[in-house]
C-alpha cells in the first residue's frame, strides 16, 4: 500500500515457561501508514505490549521467540535483524514512550544527559551540539526554563513533566515511528489531556507515525485514526476510529464499549464481559473469545473465524459476519453508544464565565 511505513505479517511471538510455551501473539497482520496514529486496544494479556516489544526488538531472549512472521520496515525485516543491527534502528528510526516515567528514566542521571545520549550515539553530535538540541527538545515538549532544567534529576520533576522528558528523549532523533505504550495511564486526567495534546501537536509538526497502546477507549477516540482491537494474541477487529466506535462488528468490541458507563445510563447495569481471557499456553480450539461470547455459535467452538471484510477500511474476525450466520443486533447499551454522546453532553463545553 502507498505510504505504508511498517508492515507486520503473520507475526507470532512465544515465550517458553515451565508450564509450557505461551503463545502471546498468534498471527498478527497490520500496517502502519505515514503520519497516522494506530491505536491497539485490548485487556492485559491480549498481546498488545508484546507486539510493541517485538517491533522494538526487545523480546527477551532466549525465552521469547518469534517463530514466524515478518516485520517489514523500509524493506527490511526487523524480525530477522541481529541485536547489533537492531540497535541502530531502536531509538533512531523507531522509538518508544513507556507507561511509567518513574521507572523509564535513570534516577541518577541529569535529564539533559539522558536526552543527549541518543543524539551523541545515533546522530554523532558533539557534546555542545547535543546540549543545544536537548534544550530545543525540552522547549518543544513544553518544559519551562529548559536551560536550567537540563541540569536537574528526574525526582525534581512532577509526573507529567517527567513524561514530557521521556517524550523528548523518544523524539530526539526524529524517529519515523513512535510507539507509546500506555503513555498516560499513570497520569492524572488533566495532565493526560495535556500530554495527548502535545503528542498530536508534535505528530503534526514532524509527520511521525504513532502506535498507541491503551485500554482506555476515551483516549483512543481522542488520538487514533485507526484502531486495532486485540484479543488473545490476535486482532479481532480493525478499522478507522469511526468504523470501530460507530459500527463495531465483533462481540468483544461490543463488550469493551458496553463496559464503559455512558453519561446517562445510571440505572442500567454495565455490560461486563463475563469470565477471564483464555490460557495462552493451550489456546482454545476455534474462536478464543467463544467461551465469553453470548452470541456463541457451534462453529465458534470448532473453527477459528477469518477476518471478514466489512468495508475497505474495516475488518472483523467473527463468524457472525459469515453469510450463513443469523442476524444479530449489538446490545441496546452499545447501540446507544454507537449513536454518539455528543447530543446530550453540552454542559462540558460551556465556557466558564465569571
Amino acid at each position: 500500500m502507498e505510504n505504508t511505513i511498517l508492515d507486520v505479517r503473520n507475526l507470532q511471538v512465544t515465550f517458553d515457561t515451565y508450564g509450557g510455551s505461551v503463545k502471546a501473539v498468534r498471527g498478527l497482520d497490520f500496517s502502519l501508514r505515514k503520519g497516522e496514529t494506530l491505536a491497539i486496544v485490548g485487556e492485559s494479556g491480549s498481546g498488545k505490549s508484546v507486539t510493541t516489544k517485538a517491533l522494538m526488538g526487545l523480546i527477551p531472549k532466549p525465552a521469547g521467540k518469534i517463530p514466524k512472521g515478518e516485520i517489514l520496515f523500509e524493506g527490511r525485516d526487523l524480525a530477522k535483524l541481529s541485536d547489533k543491527q537492531m540497535q541502530k534502528i531502536r531509538g533512531k528510526e523507531i522509538s518508544m514512550i513507556f507507561q511509567d516515567p518513574m521507572t523509564s528514566l535513570n534516577p541518577t542521571m541529569k535529564i539533559g544527559k539522558q536526552i543527549m545520549e541518543g543524539l551523541i550515539l545515533h546522530q554523532k553530535l558533539s557534546q555542545s551540539h547535543a546540549k543545544t538540541r536537548a534544550i530545543e527538545l525540552l522547549e518543544l515538549v513544553g518544559i519551562p526554563e529548559p536551560k536550567s532544567r537540563i541540569n536537574q534529576y528526574p525526582h525534581q520533576f512532577s509526573g507529567g513533566m517527567r513524561q514530557r522528558v521521556v517524550i523528548a528523549i523518544a523524539l530526539a532523533c526524529n524517529p519515523k515511528i513512535l510507539i507509546a505504550d500506555e503513555p498516560t495511564t499513570a497520569l492524572d486526567v488533566t495532565i493526560q489531556a495535556q500530554i495527548l495534546e502535545l503528542m498530536k501537536d508534535i505528530q503534526k509538526k514532524m509527520d511521525t507515525s504513532i502506535i498507541f497502546i491503551t485500554h482506555d477507549l476515551g483516549v483512543v477516540a481522542n488520538v487514533a485514526d485507526r484502531v486495532a482491537v486485540m484479543y488473545a494474541g490476535k486482532i479481532v477487529e480493525i478499522g478507522t476510529v469511526d468504523d470501530v466506535f460507530y459500527n463495531p462488528k465483533h462481540p468483544y468490541t461490543w463488550g469493551l464499549l458496553g463496559s464503559m458507563p455512558t453519561v446517562d445510563n445510571k440505572e442500567e447495569k454495565l455490560i461486563a464481559i463475563p469470565g477471564t481471557p483464555p490460557d495462552l499456553i493451550h489456546p482454545p480450539q476455534g474462536d478464543a473469545f467463544a467461551v465469553r461470547n453470548e452470541y456463541v455459535m457451534q462453529i465458534d467452538l470448532e473453527e477459528e473465524p477469518p477476518l471478514f471484510k466489512v468495508s475497505d477500511s474495516h475488518y472483523a474476525a467473527t463468524w457472525l459476519l459469515h453469510e450463513d450466520a443469523p442476524e444479530v443486533e449489538p446490545p441496546a447499551a452499545v447501540k446507544e453508544r454507537m449513536k454518539g454522546i455528543t447530543s446530550n453532553h453540552t454542559s462540558v463545553r460551556e465556557d466558564y464565565h465569571s
Binding site: E43, S44, G159, D188, V189, T190, I191, Q192, A193, L196, E197, H215, D216, L217, G218, V219, V220, A221, N222, V241, D242, F245, Y246, G255, L256, L257, G258, S259, M260, P261, V263, N265, K266, K269, L270, I271, A272, I273, P274, T276, R337, G340, I341, T342, H345, S347, V348, R349, E350, D351, Y352, S354
Partner: protein, 310 residues
C-alpha cells in the same frame, strides 16, 4: 433516600511535616455521608488529598484538626480497646492495588478469615469454612479458591478477594480507594456491578475515591471534587455533571476523554487558572439546595444569578 447521617466530617485538616515545609494534604474540608448512599470523592491531580481524606477517616492517620463523626461518635477520640475493635469492624477499606494489598504468604482463606478471627465472630472451624465459602461465592469466586495464594489470581479476581475480606466482618461503611484504577476496562465493569449489587443486598454505604469521573458519576449518588486539599464543589452527581459551577470542576470535566470520536474531534478543553480568582476569601457556600461551591461572596452572587435565570 433517608437523610440519616452515617459520617460527618467537619473542618478536617491533615498536615504532614517535612524538614522543609508543611504539606497541607487536606485543608479544612466538611461533608456528610448519608446511610445507604455512595459518596464519590474525585480529584484530577494526584496529591489533591483524596486518598489522605479516606485514610484519615478510617483512623490510619491522626487528624491534625477537625472532626470525623461516625454514627455520631468521634473517630479520632481515645477509645477503649473494645470500642476501637467495634469501630474497626464497622468501617472497612478496599485498596487500589490488589497486588500490594493482599499478603502473598497467606492463603485466600486466611486473608478473608483474619478479620473474622480478630473480632471473634465465629469460633468453630467448620462454620468459618462455610462463611469463607459463602463470601467467596458472594463476590463471584468459588470455594476451591480458598486454599490458593494471591499470586494465582488475576487483578480483577484479587480485587474480589479484597472485597470479600472487607465484607467478612459485616461492615456498615466501606471506603473504596481507587478500587478499579488498576483493572482493565471490562473487569472494571464487573467489579463496579458487584459493588452495586452488594450495596443493595447489605445496605452498605460507600465512600468511593477515584479520578475517573465517568465511573464515579455512574456509581455515586453525590460527588465532591477536591483540588489541593480543599473540596471545591459538592453536589448530586447529575447536578455536578450537568451544571458544574466551579471552574476547576469544569476543567476536570472537559479533560475526560469520552469514547466518541466525533465528540473528541471538536473537544475544547477548559484550562483552570487558579490565579484568576480569590481563594483566600473563598468559603464553602450552598448555591442551590445540596449544591455547594467553594467561592467568594461575589462569585456566589453570580452563581445564584445564573441559577435563577436558568
Amino acid at each position: 433516600m433517608s437523610k440519616d447521617k452515617i459520617l460527618e466530617v467537619k473542618e478536617l485538616k491533615q498536615y504532614f511535616h517535612t524538614k522543609k515545609e508543611v504539606i497541607k494534604a487536606v485543608d479544612g474540608i466538611s461533608f456528610d455521608i448519608y446511610r445507604g448512599e455512595t459518596f464519590g470523592l474525585v480529584g484530577g491531580e494526584s496529591g489533591c488529598g483524596k486518598s489522605t481524606t479516606g485514610r484519615t477517616i478510617i483512623r490510619l492517620y491522626d487528624a491534625t484538626s477537625g472532626e470525623v463523626k461516625f454514627n455520631g461518635i468521634d473517630v479520632h477520640d481515645k477509645k477503649s480497646k473494645k470500642n476501637l475493635k467495634q469501630f474497626n469492624r464497622q468501617m472497612q477499606m478496599i485498596f487500589q492495588d490488589p497486588y500490594a494489598s493482599l499478603n502473598p504468604r497467606m492463603t485466600v482463606r486466611e486473608i478473608i478469615a483474619e478479620g473474622i478471627d480478630i473480632h471473634g465472630l465465629i469460633k468453630n472451624e467448620k462454620e468459618k469454612t462455610e462463611r469463607v465459602q459463602q463470601l467467596l461465592e458472594t463476590v463471584g469466586l468459588n470455594k476451591e479458591h480458598a486454599s490458593r495464594y494471591p499470586h494465582e489470581f488475576s487483578g480483577g479476581q484479587r480485587q474480589r478477594i479484597g472485597i470479600a475480606r472487607a465484607l467478612a466482618v459485616d461492615p456498615e461503611f466501606i471506603i473504596a480507594d481507587e478500587p478499579i484504577s488498576a483493572l482493565d476496562v471490562s473487569i472494571q465493569a464487573q467489579v463496579v456491578n458487584l459493588m452495586k449489587e452488594l450495596q443493595e443486598k447489605h445496605g452498605l454505604t460507600y465512600l468511593f475515591i477515584a479520578h475517573d469521573l465517568s465511573m464515579v458519576k455512574y456509581i455515586s449518588d453525590r460527588i465532591a471534587v477536591m483540588y489541593f486539599g480543599k473540596i471545591v464543589e459538592l453536589a448530586d452527581s447529575d447536578e455536578l455533571y450537568n451544571n458544574p459551577l466551579h471552574p476547576y470542576t469544569k476543567s476536570l470535566l472537559s479533560a475526560i476523554p469520552l469514547p466518541d470520536p466525533d465528540f473528541e474531534r471538536d473537544r475544547t478543553r477548559t484550562i483552570y487558572d487558579p490565579s484568576k480568582h480569590d481563594s483566600v476569601n473563598a468559603e464553602f457556600r450552598e448555591v442551590t439546595p445540596g449544591h455547594w461551591v467553594f467561592c467568594t461572596e461575589g462569585e456566589f452572587k453570580n452563581f445564584k444569578l445564573a441559577k435563577a435565570k436558568a
